[in-house]
């Protein structure tokens, strides 16, 4: 067993015994890990009160060589998730981030950019007016990091350029938008305007923070959310639980 040091976001805490807990974390350097925190239900000790859902912590853990749980030996709180105080949907958006990280990532498969995106999303959920955009951005980074980001540039059927001023379909299983000429009934349940497609390109982009200047109309949010929901549900194999709690 070797001791590892990293930062991680707590995705799930379950009581294991009278005093111990099992903690699932999404760490910067190691991806998802599951670790036993002995004495994790006590307030005093190496964990203090750091072991709460969506808290970001400095952690030290002992990596088990065989299968089985790692052992968490220290957790020091960096930051607690503090959603907008009066807005439950901001809290539920945080739960959604935990659900996606828990269900779409593998243990010991690190994605430092996804970790960073999760922290930024939680930061966005401190304010109601940034919550929707924050959810979409996180979903898109998630899809990109999983290698499942749909193509928003060219038609998934003919490969043609998607030109402005039109309406496109979204073809989930082929992972992209389809131009008007290629649209067939079986994959035209989801349609979006060209403007929304442009927003999708910027929101899913890797080029810095320019997406933060985007302001989404309620109509745009609805269109984009249908696309990301379809894409995420396709990868997950079902609809995420938390979606029924979100706008």
């Amino acid at each position: 067993m070797s001791a590892e040091k990293t930062d991680g976001l707590i995705l799930r805490v379950t009581d294991f015994s009278e005093t111990s807990r099992i903690v699932v974390l999404f760490t910067r350097e190691f991806g998802k890990i599951s670790a036993l925190a002995k004495g994790g239900r006590r307030l005093k000790g190496p964990f203090e009160s750091a072991l709460d859902l969506l808290s970001n912590c400095h952690v030290v853990f002992l990596r088990k060589s065989s299968s089985g749980l790692d052992l968490l030996t220290e957790a020091q709180l960096i930051d607690r998730f503090r959603p907008q105080e009066r807005d439950l949907t901001c809290l539920y958006a945080g739960y959604y981030v935990a659900e996606l990280l828990q269900n779409l990532t593998e243990e010991y498969d690190p994605h430092p950019e996804l970790y960073q995106a999760a922290l930024e999303a939680l930061e966005d959920f401190r304010q109601t007016d940034q919550m929707r955009r924050g959810v979409l951005r996180f979903e898109l980074v998630m899809l990109r990091e999983m290698g499942q980001l749909p193509d928003f540039e060219t038609c998934a059927a003919c490969g043609g350029e998607l030109t402005e001023g039109r309406t496109f379909g979204f073809w989930v299983s082929q992972g992209g938008l389809v131009c008007p000429e290629c649209q067939r009934e079986e994959y035209s349940q989801i349609t979006i305007h060209a403007g929304s497609a442009a927003v999708l390109r910027r929101l899913s982009g890797t080029g810095g923070e320019s997406w933060r200047r985007l302001e989404l109309s309620p109509q745009q949010y609805k269109e984009l959310k249908r696309v990301t929901t379809a894409a995420i549900s396709h990868v997950l194999g079902r609809r995420p639980k938390m979606l029924s709690y979100l706008p």
């Binding site: 015994s17 009278e18 009160s49 945080g94 828990q102 639980k241």
Partner: protein
């Protein structure tokens, strides 16, 4: 009995094996302790061993939830709800009966309680309808409650549950408070962490 597993056959036969398995499934009891307890139950007076079995049966048959506050009780209504000295207009909301016990042990609370039976935890499949929340709202209106003290755990989900309830009661004429959090008496400021100090500063009281 999700964690219940059938272990290797016991040398004394399947009855003892089964008892050891059942005991080992209890919280805080490992296989070694379970084995020791089973040995004790085999060796002690028969009446003593059967009294334990009877006590378990009695508890499971006789103890019910109080229809008013959902505390555990053997009577039609729990002791606290029956006590006419307790103020029915001040209700402390807690997650579990054991939380009620620890608050009650302080001896400083003179109102009644309401046990939710858990906290809202959508990721674990627990929604508002799985808890005694609708009953709380009915109670607030029927009993003319003027203050709800949120005694849910100071965790993300505990706070979320308190927020859900306070939103539900937003249009009712009821004051909603929550337990103060911060520095423990007898500790020193120097060793309190930043978060505890910040909470203590926000929740400061008149001197």
């Amino acid at each position: 009995m999700a964690r219940f597993q059938v272990a290797a056959q016991h040398p004394y036969g399947p009855s003892v094996g089964q008892l050891v398995d059942r005991l080992a499934a209890l919280p805080g009891i490992g296989r070694k302790s379970a084995e020791r307890l089973a040995q004790h139950l085999l060796g002690c007076d028969e009446a003593e061993a059967l009294a334990l079995a009877q006590a378990i049966q009695d508890v499971r048959h006789n103890v019910k939830h109080c229809p008013n506050c959902f505390n555990l009780t053997e009577d039609a209504e729990c002791e606290i709800c029956r006590d006419s000295r307790r103020d029915p207009q001040v209700v402390c909301v807690v997650e579990q009966p054991k939380d009620l016990l620890v608050i009650e042990a302080t001896g400083v609370f003179q109102g009644q309680y309401h046990v939710l039976g858990g906290r809202i935890s959508p990721l674990s499949g627990v929604g508002p309808d799985d808890l005694n929340i609708a009953a709380l709202v009915r109670r607030v209106r029927k009993q003319g409650v003027r203050e709800i003290v949120m005694g849910t755990n100071p965790t993300l989900e505990g706070d979320g549950t308190a927020l859900y309830i306070s939103n539900l009661l937003a249009d009712d004429n009821v004051r909603i408070t929550r337990l103060a959090r911060g520095i423990a008496s007898g500790s020193v400021l120097e060793f309190a962490n930043r978060e505890m100090l910040a909470d203590a500063m926000k929740g400061r009281q008149a001197f």
